[in-house]
C-alpha cells in the first residue's frame, strides 16, 4: 500500500487557516488521503487522529508565533504513542519576530521535526519533501480524501 495518509492541522490557539486550506487542496490534488483537523488543535488531537487513520505523516502548522510553546515535547509524545516512525513536519511563521531561516530550522529540527517549513515554502515543495521522505511519488488522483 502506498504511503499517502496525512494528518494535518493548525496547533494551539492559532486561527491562521489559509495555508492549511491551500496545502490541503494541493495534497488532495496530488493524491494524498488527508485528514484535516482545521484550527485549534492540541498535540493530542494530532496524535489521536494519526493513530485512528494510521497516518504516514503529521503536518503541523503554526503561524501566530507560539509554535515553540505549542510544539514542546510533541516528538516525545509521538514516540510514546507508538508513532515514532510517523513523519513529523512543522511549518509556518514559527518564531516571534525576525529570525534567520537557519536559526528557525535548527531550532525545530532540534525539537524532533523531520522537516521545517517557512512562509516561502510552496505546497509543491512540501509535496516534494513528502515524496522524498515517504519514498516514491504517489499517484495523482482527484477523488482521494
Amino acid at each position: 500500500m502506498k504511503k499517502n495518509r496525512i494528518v494535518m492541522g493548525v496547533i494551539g490557539s492559532d486561527i491562521h487557516v489559509v495555508g492549511n486550506k491551500i496545502i490541503h487542496y494541493a495534497l488532495r490534488q496530488a493524491g494524498y488521503q488527508v485528514t484535516n483537523l482545521g484550527i485549534f488543535n492540541s498535540q493530542e488531537n494530532f496524535i489521536n487522529a494519526a493513530k485512528e487513520t494510521n497516518a504516514d505523516a503529521i503536518l503541523v502548522s503554526s503561524l501566530y508565533g507560539h509554535a515553540e510553546i505549542d510544539c514542546e515535547g510533541m516528538k516525545q509524545k509521538c514516540v510514546e504513542a507508538g508513532l515514532g516512525d510517523v513523519l513529523l513536519y512543522v511549518g509556518g511563521n514559527l518564531m516571534v519576530g525576525k529570525h534567520s531561516d537557519e536559526e528557525i530550522i535548527t531550532r525545530f529540527k532540534g525539537m524532533g521535526f523531520d522537516r521545517v517549513g517557512l512562509p516561502t515554502d510552496m505546497p509543491e515543495n512540501i509535496i516534494a519533501w513528502l515524496e522524498e521522505d515517504l519514498g516514491g511519488k504517489s499517484e495523482t488522483s482527484n477523488t482521494a480524501d
Binding site: 490557539s13 489559509v18 485549534f40 510553546i69 519576530g97 505546497p123
Partner: protein, 485 residues
C-alpha cells in the same frame, strides 16, 4: 455571556439588565474588581479633549485627512510604553495596544506566566499586550505616558472584560465585533453568543456615551485579509455599525482591507462612508459619527523588506486617494514575524510620505471606473443587508445568525465551522476581486453576470481557465510581486 435568560434580539439593553450582568464579567479575573464606572467616566472627562480616537477621526473626516495607525503590543507595561512613545515620535496619529492570544482566549493565568517569563527573559514571549492582566492602573500608566489616544486591539470573541478594564484604563477605542471576531477568530462559537458579547461591549460604550465620554468602536472589516471582496467587508461592517448604534454607540469606524485594485479599493473606501451613513439614517440611527478605515494589504506579504514597502506604500496612497479617515500600517517585516519597533516606524514613515503626497489628490465618483465599482458594491451590499433583515423578520441580530447558517453571510477563508465557506473569491483581468463562486450570497443575477464577464476577460487575457488554481495563485500573488497573472 455564557448563561443568560436574555434572548438575542437587536434591542438596546435596559441599563438595569446591563448592570446586572456586569459582576459576572468583572469576576472573570481579579483585575475586573478594579473597574469603577463612575471613576472611569470622571477619568475620561478629565483627559485632554483631543486625546480621543473618536474626536480625532471625526476631525479627520471634516478635514479630509487620513490618520496613520498601526498594530503593536508587547508583554510588559514598560515595553509597551517604550513602543508607543517611539512610534508617536515617528509620526503615528493613533496608538495601539494589540493584545496577546492568551488574553484573547481568556487564559488569564497563562498570561500571568507569560508576563513573568517575559520580564525574566528580557523579551516578550507573549505575542501581544496583556490588557486585562495589567489592570486599570497598569493601562492608565500606559495611556498617560503618551500624547495620543490608545486603541485596544484584539481578536477576542469575548472582549467584555478587556473592554471594561481598558476603558477604565483610559483607552478610547476598541476594535472588533460580534461577527468579524467570531468567524475569523473562532473555530466553533455560535453567532448568538458572540453577538451578545458584543451587545455588552456596545452597551458599555453606550453607557459611557450617555455620560459624555466618547469611546470609538473600530470594526475589523479586513476579516481574513485574504481576497475578501468589498461587498463582504462592507455588509458586515455596516451591520456591525447598525447593531452598535442600537446599543448607544455614537462613534464608530468600519473598514475594508486593501485588495490591490486601485479603483475598486477607492470605490470601497468611498462606499464605507456613503453606504454606512445611508443605512444608519434609513434605520433611524442619527447620532452615530461613522468614519472609514483602510487596512493596508492584510494577506501574505513579500518576504523581502523593500518589496514589502512597495505593497504598503500603494496601500497608503490608496487610503489617501480614497479619503479614508484612517489607514492601518503594515511593516516591511510583515511576512517574517512580529515586527521590531524600527520596522513599524519604517512602515509609518513611508506611509506618511505617501499620504502627504496624495492627500490633495482625492479621486471619487467622477472617475468612471470608480463609479462603476461603487454602483456594484452598493447593489451587492444592499441586497445582502436587505436579505439579512428579511431573514430576521426585521430583527438584524437574529437575521445575522440565520444568514451565517444559510450562507447569506459568508467570509472567504474563515476558520470557523459556523461560516459556510462556499463563496470563493478570485481576481479579474485588472486584479479586482470578484466571485468565482457566489455560494449562497444573495447577489442579484444581473450582477453575477457582470462578475462572470470580468472573469472571462481574465481567462481570455491570460489564457488560463479561471478555476480554483487561480484562487491559489491569487493568494500568493502579492507576496510574489504581482496582482494577477
Amino acid at each position: 455571556m455564557n448563561k443568560t435568560d436574555y434572548n438575542l434580539a437587536n434591542k438596546k439593553w435596559d441599563e438595569d439588565y446591563f448592570l446586572s450582568v456586569r459582576p459576572e464579567v468583572l469576576g472573570m479575573w481579579h483585575t475586573g474588581r478594579e473597574v469603577d464606572l463612575d471613576d472611569a467616566v470622571q477619568y475620561h472627562l478629565a483627559m485632554p479633549r483631543m486625546k480621543n480616537t473618536g474626536r480625532i477621526l471625526a476631525k479627520a473626516k471634516e478635514e479630509g485627512r487620513t490618520c496613520v495607525a498601526f498594530r503593536g503590543g508587547v508583554a510588559t507595561k514598560e515595553g509597551q510604553i517604550e513602543l508607543l512613545q517611539f512610534l508617536q515620535d515617528q509620526g503615528a496619529d493613533l496608538l495601539p495596544a494589540t493584545c496577546d492570544s492568551y488574553t484573547r482566549n481568556l487564559r488569564f493565568s497563562d498570561v500571568e506566566k507569560g508576563i513573568e517569563e517575559s520580564i525574566k527573559k528580557g523579551y516578550s514571549v507573549l505575542n501581544g499586550y496583556p490588557g486585562v492582566n495589567l489592570g486599570v492602573a497598569g493601562n492608565r500608566s500606559v495611556v498617560e505616558s503618551v500624547r495620543l489616544p490608545v486603541t485596544c486591539k484584539h481578536g477576542s470573541v469575548d472582549g467584555r472584560l478587556l473592554a471594561e478594564v481598558t476603558f477604565a484604563g483610559g483607552m478610547t477605542d476598541f476594535n472588533g465585533g460580534g461577527i468579524c471576531f467570531n468567524v475569523v477568530y473562532c473555530k466553533d462559537v455560535p453567532l448568538d453568543v458572540s453577538l451578545k458579547n458584543w451587545q455588552y461591549v456596545d452597551r458599555l460604550i453606550g453607557y459611557y456615551a450617555e455620560r459624555g465620554v466618547i469611546i470609538n468602536r473600530e470594526e475589523s472589516g479586513a476579516l481574513t485579509g485574504t481576497l475578501v471582496p468589498p461587498c463582504i467587508s462592507l455588509s458586515i461592517g455596516i451591520i456591525e455599525a447598525l447593531l452598535a448604534a442600537e446599543q448607544g454607540v455614537v462613534s464608530m469606524d468600519i473598514s475594508y482591507g486593501q485588495g490591490g485594485n486601485l479603483l475598486q479599493d477607492i470605490a470601497a473606501i468611498r462606499c464605507l462612508n456613503v453606504l454606512g451613513d445611508k443605512w444608519l439614517k434609513k434605520m433611524g440611527y442619527n447620532d452615530m459619527v461613522l468614519t472609514s478605515k483602510f487596512d493596508q494589504w492584510m494577506g501574505a506579504f513579500p518576504y523581502d523588506e523593500t518589496s514589502a514597502y512597495g505593497v504598503l506604500v500603494l496601500g497608503a496612497a490608496t487610503a489617501a486617494l480614497g479619503g479614508a479617515q484612517q489607514t492601518i500600517v503594515k511593516s516591511p517585516q510583515e511576512a517574517m514575524g512580529v515586527p521590531t519597533k524600527e520596522a513599524n516606524a519604517g512602515g509609518i514613515r513611508a506611509t506618511k510620505q505617501a499620504i502627504g503626497m496624495m492627500t490633495n489628490q482625492k479621486l471619487g465618483i467622477e472617475v468612471p471606473g470608480i463609479e462603476e465599482e461603487m454602483d456594484l458594491i452598493t447593489q451587492e451590499v444592499n441586497a445582502i443587508i436587505n436579505t439579512v433583515y428579511d431573514m430576521g423578520e426585521g430583527d438584524l441580530a437574529i437575521g445575522v445568525v440565520r444568514a451565517f447558517e444559510s450562507g447569506v453571510l459568508d467570509v472567504p477563508f474563515a476558520p470557523s465551522v459556523r461560516n459556510i465557506g462556499l463563496a470563493m473569491p478570485v481576481r479579474d483581468d485588472r486584479g479586482a476581486l470578484r466571485f468565482l463562486d457566489f455560494g449562497n450570497l444573495p447577489i442579484p443575477e444581473k450582477i453575477k453576470k457582470i462578475h462572470r464577464k470580468k472573469l472571462d476577460a481574465r481567462a481570455k487575457k491570460y489564457g488560463k481557465p479561471v478555476d480554483f488554481n487561480r484562487v491559489v495563485e491569487d493568494i500568493y500573488g502579492i507576496s510574489k510581486g504581482y496582482l494577477v497573472q
